[in-house]
């Protein structure tokens, strides 16, 4: 078994005792850090960092040098799979990700390949191996993927969307085409995440950023069903170590019971739900990750510390809490505020772990 110097994050996901609540931040490697901006400027663009294992490793480690984070997360993008399927990912300044060849028909879906993680996505696996090696067992490495529904929104809309009219049109007018797409993407996500685990990821997280735009029934049908398939297909133990899996549906607060029933180890929570309510509803089944509004990091040190204490008190005593923001850190947050946040979690959580 691998011995981690700091295994709080893994232990908390497995609801095992810890000395303090572990903490990491979604998008902890990123544009709020000047050292990240320097790498990015040198490299050219976002994908140039993702596709270079040394640079991906460097930016992954940057926040760990500044803050006492309890986990590292692979620096990559959720859209690597559709890109490897041939959709042609590109980024336009200020406009978010786009695809040159979005999915328009059943024929488009049928011809999608299942990318080989060690060929088309070898750059990701090389990044995982490089980061894992350079972490030297200090903290665990988190691998990740987008959920099939979330990936499909970009694949069909051709980029970001507000109303998701193209994918919803397909969901209501041609559901069998969408189900075939979601099933193929789910298979690719399983292969991809299992390859990340084999390459060194010690836990994996599935980001369902857009599951919350569906009705309760359609969420189960088009998003949750495929995440459940992925959970069932994942390597849950590797070289003697449990590999916990976290599912995160943004705006999924009303559906926690269903998500917890998939067999995952933990649920990510955004800030629109009170963590005490979430714990009362599903805390006996799964660990909870979250859930401070990232905008609190705009506040004073005192206010940040107060908010951390409120959320810790909301979760209360007992195991199974990984502290995080409810979504990615904003790019204009002062880095020192992220430091106040991380330190406050460790400082004020000790009383709940005795």
């Amino acid at each position: 078994m691998t011995t981690l110097k700091n295994d709080r994050y893994i232990r908390a996901l497995l609801k095992q005792p810890v000395d303090a609540t572990p903490v990491w931040m979604m998008r902890q490697a990123g544009r709020y850090l000047p050292e990240y901006k320097a790498v990015r400027k040198e490299a050219g663009d976002f994908m140039a960092v993702c596709t270079n294992p040394e640079l991906a490793c460097e930016v992954t480690l940057q926040p760990l040098r500044r803050f006492k984070l309890d986990a590292a997360i692979l620096f990559s993008d959720i859209l690597t799979i559709p890109d490897a399927m041939g959709l042609g990912l590109y980024f336009e300044a200020g406009e978010g990700p786009k695809f040159k060849h979005p999915i328009k028909s059943l024929a488009d879906v049928k011809k999608l390949p299942n990318p080989d993680p060690e060929i088309e996505l070898k750059y990701v696996m090389d990044a995982v191996r490089t980061i894992r090696k350079n972490l030297k067992g200090s903290v665990p490495l988190i691998g990740f993927s987008g959920s099939p529904w979330t990936l499909a929104t970009y694949m069909i809309e051709g980029g970001s969307s507000k109303a998701f009219t193209k994918i919803k049109k397909m969901a209501f007018a041609e559901p069998q085409t969408l189900h075939l797409l979601l099933d193929k993407v789910a298979d690719s996500v399983i292969t991809y995440l299992n390859a990340q685990i084999a390459a060194g990821a010690q836990s994996v997280m599935i980001f369902d950023t857009w599951g919350g735009v569906l009705s309760p029934r359609d969420y189960k049908l088009f998003s949750l069903q495929y995440m459940e398939k992925i959970v069932a297909g994942l390597t849950r133990e590797y070289e003697g170590n449990k590999v916990p899996v976290t599912l995160f549906t943004k705006n999924g607060g009303m559906w926690l019971e269903s998500i917890a029933a998939t067999g995952c180890d933990a649920l990510g929570l955004d800030w629109t739900i009170d963590i005490a309510d979430a714990k009362a509803r599903v805390g006996d089944k799964v660990a909870l990750q979250g859930n401070m509004d990232p905008s609190v990091l705009y506040a004073s040190k005192e206010r940040i510390e107060q908010e951390v204490q409120d959320i810790l008190a909301g979760f209360g005593a007992g195991e199974g809490h990984v502290f995080n923001l409810g979504h990615g850190i904003h790019l204009d947050v002062p880095p020192e505020n992220a430091g106040y946040f991380v330190d406050a979690v460790h400082k004020y959580s000790k009383q709940y772990h005795k």
Copy 2:
């Protein structure tokens, strides 16, 4: 008392018996209708239609000529108040609404005037009077406003937003400035809606499109508190008729109990909540409006009818349901599908009202 030929909508909001469930559609006057596009093309732009009472009346009545809708809604924009306050509303093609002079400081907030509805917003009141006269008592006229929080997002961000970082920065770093703004806007909304009621609106609705981006505590503090103030300040009976008020927080499904406790008559529901659950939670206190996913209107006639039947069955027997979409109708929906939807509500709801 005014005698309405069709008062189903008002009766349902007041939880009184009806012969069939009333139905209308958010954005029922709009770009999915070719006759709307013709008026719009002639007029020039969106605000040219809003500011011309005859044109606003014409487009308000257009959907009523096609469909057996149980209510008309004033054709206007939620951003008329900030525009009247001097922020300079304009629209850029494909980009949504923007303000020339967004709010940046306490000084900006302090100098905001409280617009006189019969001076700066006279074009809205004239539209209400013209529509009410032309409706000839056929169906009730709904007036509306944005919620203070929702209006403030546009006033501070300067337009639409994804992460709402500017207003959240103010909420966490300078809350007293934001509270002053919200309070001033709430006062203006009260004056504005009461003027709409005096001009002929028989019911009013408050659209809180962006309340759902807040945490439970911040929702109460920055959004709900000010809607509660508005509800308390509204004319609830006019010339012997009750004037029901509906509050709609998009993505507010977790907070229905708090919203129902404001004293409003009805809650708008988006499609992310099961209407049966919503009824079980707050159906004894308020009427419910909703909640079909607007994207269902992309489906076949059979599928649309099935979805209508499912939602009617979810609400079940008893009074207090106004059927609607969970958000505005999409601009690329075939008009005949909207007709199938409206007819299906009347046809299949009769069995629940005996």
